[in-house]
Symmetry: C2
Subunit: 347 residues, 2 copies
């Protein structure tokens, strides 16, 4: 008898999976984390803020934790998954735009001109993002993302992107949710892009995904029903200061905990800390070239580049008492076993 | 012995208040509603969408109900409360802006020139709103709103604004929440203005208030802590199409139920219905000059005016099967008893 992968997953989950996992977690909610200052800070924070009667107790409605995505909850190297999606979608819709064959930067993508693409600046990427992320309904766009996500694989690890999520961060989200924290993704990536899979991959519903967002235009379909079309105009740039501004816009209060990995997350962590009382701020340091990638303070990139953990940020973390998570030392496991469902993103 | 008003309220609530009310509500969750099509539609909708195994069952995470505020959950005549707040704040901060004494439209407000103020167009109001709603931190602004709200009274009813909330709508919100619906305020009014009191008045937390919003600017206070300053630039105009667009931006899905009272709510109700399956759309018709106000379809105002229930909207409601709530016929009670706390906005 040959069992489908789905049946195998279901079977193993019910026979020896979640039940045993849940009881093991009574002892250690973060089994993929090595003992150390990062893990200790998390557990101490959760215990103190949920200890009714304690001086640092936080009411349930204020239990908000925010996570950057790229480089914090999943792999961002060698290139953002959303950019790969944009390239794939550009090729898919190119027949409707014959002029792209002779117009840069589109031509480079359609010609698979690797040398040119590697030199793309954010300014080059912008028209590609706009062309591939607008002009269709929000539902059609999310379907395109899910279709791509179901077949795309990471160029180095050759695994589907949902398996490129860091298992320690999934455990952390689950641990926080078990303690009645709401876990928000606060991503520089596209809000609609991330919402398309966040429920399935992270157990995070769409209203807890805050990202860079295009304007939408309200119109009517053939049956006179209201619908929304994505427009090629940026409404929210959810990076740097934008993260603090958009958290306030969406949530209306300071997070209690925030996790990031780059200068793009700096203001989110500052804004979290500015709320006062016990707050938890952590930055993921990519120092494990073998299991993932190594980049960061040694790199010496300017502080305004998204996706970089500059020396300046490292110094600020030390000065403000933020924890730096060493992937190499603090994480026992980085990725789940291939083909395995991610560590229970139960909602 | 003289009891303070607070003590009286507390005492009466504990002695014969909530406990008795709660048990009465087992029989009728909407005691301020008269029997009729509006009440029936609400109860039928809630029963069908929460009936596990039924064909119209809605999972908890999709149970979203959106409420317009002005004219739907509280009085909007003779003038929006937020405009009164703006006038009061303009006078309060005028000493820092001596030029206002000689500049319109500020001068008219400072001179209490009623004739001029009654002729104010939205274009006149805009600089007043901008001047009074920006240039300070989001925390300082919300404090200013709460201070004003604690003393302001409605010009006709001479009661504090929190008592100008419609008791049937508070019951409806509580009924929906008891059935695991999340109740959002989706207001053309200012998001920060409404958030300042929504928790206390409606039992609605800040992340469930979607409104018109100004941009914020991230900066640092004297202690190097991140903070947000309100800027005089509109980011979200949460009226008409803006309501559908912003619901999608914040929530990422169609509401299951939506309540409004004017052309400004039209697209929100259309967008709700466009989600398919059983949805509930209702419009409050102000037809009770004695107990509140009478205005609406008979008024013949153009369809683009906010705060008006035009004949065109009335016709659309009939064509699309939306319920029109007659304040006169459908609501047994409109306001709670003076000095009484509103009907339990428990969170």
């Amino acid at each position: 008898m040959k069992l489908s992968r789905r049946a195998l997953i279901k079977g193993s989950a019910s026979v020896f999976g979640w039940a045993r996992l849940a009881s093991a977690q009574d002892h250690d909610p973060l089994p993929s984390w090595n003992p150390g200052p990062a893990k200790r800070a998390i557990v101490d924070f959760v215990r103190a803020t949920t200890n009714k009667g304690g001086s640092e107790f936080v009411p349930v409605e204020d239990r908000i934790a925010t996570f950057d995505q790229d480089g914090t909850t999943w792999v961002e190297r060698p290139i953002y998954s959303q950019v790969l999606f944009a390239f794939a979608r550009l090729a898919a819709i190119a027949p409707q735009h014959p002029q792209w064959k002779k117009t840069q930067p589109f031509q480079a993508v359609l010609d698979h001109d690797k040398a040119a693409m590697e030199k793309f600046t954010p300014k080059d990427l912008e028209p590609i993002i706009m062309a591939t992320h607008s002009g269709l309904s929000v539902e059609a766009f999310q379907k395109a993302v899910r279709d791509w996500m179901s077949t795309a694989r990471h160029p180095r690890f050759n695994r589907p992107y949902p398996e490129m999520v860091y298992q320690p961060m999934l455990e952390l989200m689950r641990y926080l949710r078990a303690n009645q924290y709401r876990t928000y993704l606060v991503t520089g990536g596209g809000q609609d892009f991330v919402r398309a899979y966040a429920r399935q991959v992270y157990g995070i519903p769409p209203d807890q995904v805050i990202g860079s967002a295009l304007e939408t235009r309200y119109t009517y379909n053939g049956n006179g029903q209201g619908m929304l079309i994505l427009e090629p105009k940026l409404l929210l740039n959810n990076n740097f200061s934008g993260k603090a501004e958009d958290i306030y816009l969406f949530v209306g209060k300071h997070p209690r905990a925030a996790f990031g990995n780059s200068t793009g997350d700096r203001q989110m962590l500052e804004y979290t800390q500015a709320g006062g009382g016990l707050r938890l701020m952590q930055l993921v340091l990519h120092d494990d070239a073998q299991r993932e990638y190594a980049y960061g303070p040694a790199q010496g990139l300017p502080g305004t580049t998204i996706g970089t953990f500059t020396q300046e940020l490292y110094d600020e973390a030390k000065a403000r008492g933020w924890t730096v998570i060493s992937m190499k030392n603090d994480w026992r496991t980085i990725f789940g076993a291939p083909g395995r469902p991610p560590v229970a993103p139960s909602l």
